[in-house]
C-alpha cells in the first residue's frame, strides 16, 4: 500500500494548504499544552491517539478544571460526535472489496474535517479501487504532520509571540470556512450550510453543549428534504 501511486498522490495532496491549515492549529495546541503543564510525551500521545483538535482542547481544559475521567470521556464524546456523520459519509466512498474490515476501522482514525473535505473535493477523479490508498496517504500524512506540529509547538512555544500564536489558531477555522464555501455547488448543501451556521448561533444560547450537533442534524435534514429531488435529476 505505502509504495502504491494512489498512496503517494494522497500524501502529495496533503502537503501544502491542508497540512498548513491543520498543522498551525496543532502547533498552537502544543504551545497550549506546554503552558498548561503537560510534558512532551503526554502532548505527543494526545495527538497521536486522539487526532481531533476540539476534543483535545476539551480534554486539557477539563483536566485543568478538575474534571473526572467520566467527565472527560463524555465531554470529548459530545465534542467529537461530529466525526460520526463524517465517518458514515466517507466510508462508502473510500472502501472497496479488497479492503478488509480491520483496515477500515484502523483507517477511520484519520477521519477529520480536513481529510473529509479534501477527499470529497477529489474523489470523483479517482478510480474506486484507488480511493482507499489515496485516503490513507492523505489522512495519514495529515495525522503524522499534526503529531510533529504538536511537538514543535510544545518545544518552540517560548520563541513564538502570543500574537503569532493567536494568528495561527485562526488559520484552521478560516481554512474550514473557505473549504466549505468552495464545496457549495448543490442547493441542498448551500441550504444545509446556511441553516447550520444560523441554528448554531441561535441554539448556543439554549443548549450550548449540544448546539453544534443539533444544528447540524436539523440543518442537514431540512436541506436534504427540501432539495432531494435534485439528486434524481443529476
Amino acid at each position: 500500500m505505502f509504495s502504491s501511486q494512489p498512496f503517494k498522490d494522497g500524501v502529495k495532496h496533503a502537503i501544502g494548504v491542508p497540512a498548513l491549515g491543520l498543522g498551525s492549529s496543532m502547533f498552537a495546541f502544543g504551545a497550549f499544552l506546554n503552558s498548561a503543564g503537560f510534558d512532551i510525551f503526554q502532548s505527543f500521545c494526545s495527538t497521536f491517539f486522539t487526532f481531533a483538535l476540539p476534543g483535545q482542547f476539551v480534554m486539557a481544559e477539563t483536566i485543568l478544571a478538575g474534571g473526572s475521567l467520566l467527565n472527560i470521556f463524555l465531554a470529548v464524546l459530545l465534542t467529537n460526535g461530529r466525526l460520526y456523520p463524517m465517518t458514515v459519509n466517507i466510508t462508502p466512498v473510500i472502501r472497496n472489496q479488497n479492503v478488509s474490515k480491520w483496515k477500515q476501522y484502523l483507517t477511520s482514525h484519520f477521519i477529520a474535517v480536513t481529510s473529509w473535505f479534501n477527499m470529497f473535493a477529489v474523489h470523483q477523479n479517482i478510480k474506486q479501487e484507488d480511493k482507499f490508498d489515496y485516503f490513507v496517504g492523505l489522512g495519514g500524512f495529515l495525522w503524522a504532520n499534526s503529531v510533529v506540529c504538536t511537538i514543535a509547538g510544545y518545544l518552540f512555544s517560548n520563541v513564538v509571540s502570543h500574537e503569532i500564536l493567536v494568528g495561527m489558531v485562526f488559520i484552521n477555522p478560516m481554512y474550514f470556512l473557505i473549504m466549505t464555501v468552495s464545496n457549495l455547488k448543490e442547493k441542498m448543501m448551500i441550504c444545509s450550510v446556511l441553516l447550520g451556521a444560523s441554528l448554531s448561533i441561535i441554539l448556543n444560547s439554549f443548549i450550548p453543549g449540544w448546539s453544534v450537533l443539533v444544528a447540524g442534524i436539523l440543518a442537514g435534514s431540512i436541506g436534504y428534504i427540501l432539495f432531494k429531488k435534485e439528486i434524481v435529476h443529476e
Binding site: T87, N89, K228
Partner: protein, 108 residues
C-alpha cells in the same frame, strides 16, 4: 494533577473519539454512495461543520476567546473577500486573514 491521571485522561479522550469513528464505520456497512441515506448524511456533515465554524468565530473558547468579536468577524469577511477576488485562491485567503487577525489583535 498527577502524570498518571493525565495519561488516563488521554486514554478516555481517545476512546471517546475513536468510538465516534468506529461506530461510523459500523453504521456505514450497508450504505452505498447512491442511497438516500448517503446524501442525507452528507448534508448533516456539512451542516455540522458550518455550525462548528460559526461557533468558533462567534463563541470561541481558549486562545481565540481572548480576541475581540470585531477582529474575528472582520477577518472572516476579509478571508471571503480575498477568496472570491483572487480566483478562489485558498492559500492567499487563509494567510491574509490570519495575518490581518494577528495585526488587528495587536494594534486594536
Amino acid at each position: 494533577m498527577s502524570s498518571q491521571f493525565i495519561y488516563l485522561s488521554i486514554l478516555a479522550a481517545s476512546l471517546g473519539t475513536y468510538f465516534c469513528r468506529a461506530f461510523g464505520v459500523y453504521s456505514a456497512r450497508n450504505i452505498s454512495t447512491d442511497s438516500p441515506v448517503f446524501h442525507w448524511i452528507k448534508c448533516v456533515s456539512i451542516g455540522v461543520i458550518s455550525a462548528v465554524i460559526a461557533r468558533i468565530i462567534l463563541f470561541p473558547e481558549g486562545i481565540l476567546g481572548e480576541a475581540t468579536s470585531f477582529s474575528r468577524i472582520s477577518c472572516t469577511i476579509i478571508a471571503l473577500v480575498i477568496y472570491f477576488s483572487f480566483k478562489k485562491n485558498v492559500l492567499l485567503a487563509v494567510i491574509v486573514s490570519a495575518i490581518s487577525f494577528a495585526l488587528v489583535n495587536h494594534y486594536i
